[in-house]
């Protein structure tokens, strides 16, 4: 193939143009086909539209009919509306009236509202007050609550304290070394402590509620059972306070019938001024008695020993005074007389001490015989005549003629009268008065009264006057001779004889001493006191 290159290129161009024309023709043809197809579609669409229009026409015909029906309905409605309008008018009128009424009501409402407003405001204020009050109440309530709690706590603490105190008191009572018994006003045992149980052998449960006097018998120093009436407890419950006299010890009888010497103090329990019971505290004094006995024995021994030197002084001064050793000058005589007198006082003191120890040891022997108390008194007065005259004391005496002889120990009775009379003389200042009388009372007792206008006994010391070695303050300076034993001895003797010795006294006015002696002593028991010691030694 290599003819001419230009020819070839031309031919090629013509070919290519022919090919392009062919292609163009094919394109147009294809376009025509498409257009034909499109035209066919459009025809179909026109047909569909025409059909739709037919339908629409038909629909319109239907709609016209509906419109007619609607118009008719509307006509009915219009008529109805006309009626409604009338009703509306009436309603409107009514509404106008109502409106007017409402206007009035509105005014009233306004006024009410205002009132309400005021009220509301007031209520608001009240509410505030109430709120404040409420708050206060709340605070108060809280305070009260706290106070209540505190109180409750205090009460419970106090109760606990009281409980403690009570059990403490009970423990104390229980452990007191002395016997303790509490009785009600009928004398029934309410409480006893441990010492009571130990001393008397009774257990609390055995005797609570029973009569103390019956459960625990008492005997006096003579071994005689003390009667119900004479029991201290009975006397205290009847209203009189009484402290057992230690010089008159007694015995308590144990459950096992053995006994022990006792001293006790009984006091009434007084509530609102009424005796509701009594409390008794008692002690076993066996030991004390032994010590006391030893002491008394010592005094007795010492006194006897003192008598020898006293006798020596007595006798030798006597001999000197008698001139046995040559003549004495008046001065020497005076001095010797002082020695002798001083020694005599010592002798008297020793004698008194021995009397006391005899009384206490129970070795005092009583020799009773019919005794004329009036004569005895007169002889005692005679002994004091010198001193009475010296002190210019006016002595008056009166003795009833009816006084019989009484069976008693004249020496001891003399000691009693001697003691009281010598006190009256000693403690009455110069120019004073002493009055003595003896009368019978109730036909069963002799009553002797010795009254003086002397110094008297100070009130605060009156209860000690019968105590051994006691001397009242107001006479110690005035008289150095007293021993403080006289009245102790006198009372012991009188009581031994079944009588009583007591006194009334006012300081600086004088004293009256009373002695009663029974004509017949209920029971004579010479060895009673001696037995007392034998027993306590057992």
């Amino acid at each position: 193939m290599k003819p001419d290159k230009r020819t070839d290129t031309l031919a090629d161009g013509i070919a290519r143009k022919l090919e392009a024309l062919a292609n163009e023709k094919e394109g147009i043809r294809r376009k025509l086909v498409v257009t034909a197809k499109q035209l066919a579609v459009t025809a179909k669409e026109k047909e569909s539209t025409r059909r739709k229009l037919v339908v629409t026409a038909k629909q319109l015909a239907v709609t016209a009919k509906e419109k007619e029906s609607t118009r008719r309905k509307l006509e009915v409605t219009a008529k109805q509306l006309a009626v409604t309008a009338k009703e509306k008018e009436s309603t409107r009128r009514k509404l106008v009236v109502t409106a007017k009424t409402l206007a009035v009501t509105a005014k009233e409402k306004e006024s009410t509202r205002r009132k309400l407003e005021v009220t509301a405001k007031q209520l608001a204020v009240t509410a505030k007050e109430k709120e404040s009050a409420r708050r206060k109440l709340v605070v108060t309530a809280e305070k009260l609550k706290s106070l209540y709690e505190t109180l409750e706590k205090k009460v419970s603490e106090r109760t606990k304290d009281l409980e403690q105190i009570r059990s403490k008191s009970e423990a104390i009572l229980a452990s007191i070394g002395d016997g303790l018994v509490v009785v009600d006003k009928e004398g029934r045992i309410n409480y006893i402590n441990k010492s009571f149980e130990e001393m008397l052998g009774w257990k609390a449960e055995e005797i609570i509620g029973k009569s103390m006097v019956q459960v625990v018998p008492r005997e006096d120093i003579h071994g005689t059972k003390v009667s119900f009436k004479e029991r201290i407890l009975t006397q205290v419950l009847s209203g009189e306070k009484f402290v057992a006299n230690l010089t008159n010890p007694f015995y308590y009888i144990r459950k096992d019938t053995s006994r022990f010497p006792t001293s006790s103090i009984v006091a009434p329990v007084i509530l609102d001024g009424k005796t509701v019971g009594a409390v008794e505290v008692f002690r076993d004094i066996t030991k004390e008695k032994e010590i006391d006995k030893a002491k008394t024995e010592f005094v007795s021994l010492a006194s006897h020993q003192l008598r020898t030197p006293l006798s020596t002084v007595n006798w030798y001064s006597e001999m000197l005074l008698a001139g046995d050793a040559g003549k004495v000058t008046p001065d020497q005589k005076k001095y010797l007389e002082e020695i002798y007198a001083g020694n005599q006082r010592m002798v008297e003191l020793v004698n008194t001490l021995l009397d006391v120890s005899r009384i206490e040891l129970g070795t005092l022997i009583i020799e009773s015989k019919p005794t004329n108390i009036v004569k005895l008194t007169q002889s005692v007065l005679d002994e004091h005549k010198l001193l009475i005259t010296e002190k210019r004391i006016i002595l008056t005496s009166s003795f009833s003629k009816k006084i019989p002889l009484i069976k008693t120990d004249p020496k001891l009775l003399r000691m009693v009268i001697q003691n009281i009379v010598s006190n009256a003389v000693k403690y009455t200042s110069d120019g004073g008065k002493i009055y003595i009388s003896t009368v019978m009372i109730d036909g069963s007792d002799i009553l002797m009264k010795i009254r003086d206008t002397g110094y008297g006994i100070p009130k605060d010391q009156q209860n000690k006057i019968f105590t051994k070695l006691f001397r009242a303050d107001n006479v110690i300076g005035k008289d150095t001779e007293g021993t403080g034993l006289g009245l102790y001895i006198a009372r012991s003797i009188v009581e031994q004889a079944g009588g009583k010795l007591w006194f009334d006294s006012t300081e600086n006015r004088g004293s009256i001493f009373y002695v009663t002696l029974p004509l017949h002593k209920p029971k004579k028991d010479n060895d009673a006191s001696a037995r007392l010691y034998q027993r306590s030694n057992n």
Binding site: T308, N314, Y316, A322, L354
Partner: protein, 122 residues
């Protein structure tokens, strides 16, 4: 002149015995001393006495024993007891044993004793 009456003083307290001796001699009696019961009995056995002044509490032999011995020995010499015991029991006891009288020395002036002796030996 009468021979003086013989008095035996049985007393252990020498000063008291001497006082009695002096006073009784002064009063015209013949007094002899014994300082205990035993010596007293010895003297009594040696020669008779008109009166005995007897103490009760003494060493060796006390007054009560002396009284008993006097009784058994049938010595009838009157006895005045001079003592400082003042228990009534002692007094009774002494009297039962034959003592004629009983004096408490400290309570009795020596003159009283002399008077009683004189009366008894009249």
């Amino acid at each position: 002149m009468n021979t003086p009456k013989k008095i035996l003083i049985i007393e252990d307290e020498k000063t008291l015995a001497r006082a009695l001796e002096l006073t009784l001699t002064h009063a015209g009696f013949e007094a002899k001393l014994a300082f205990n019961g035993e010596d007293g009995i010895k003297l009594l056995k040696e020669s008779p006495f008109d009166l005995i002044l007897l103490d009760l509490i003494m060493p060796k032999m006390d007054g009560f024993t002396v009284l008993t011995v006097l009784k058994t020995e049938k010595i009838k010499t009157p006895v005045l007891v001079l003592t400082n015991l003042s228990q009534q029991n002692d007094i009774k006891h002494a009297e039962k044993f034959g003592a004629k009288e009983f004096f408490i020395k400290s309570n009795t002036p020596i003159a009283t004793i002399v008077t009683r002796v004189r009366e008894l030996l009249k």
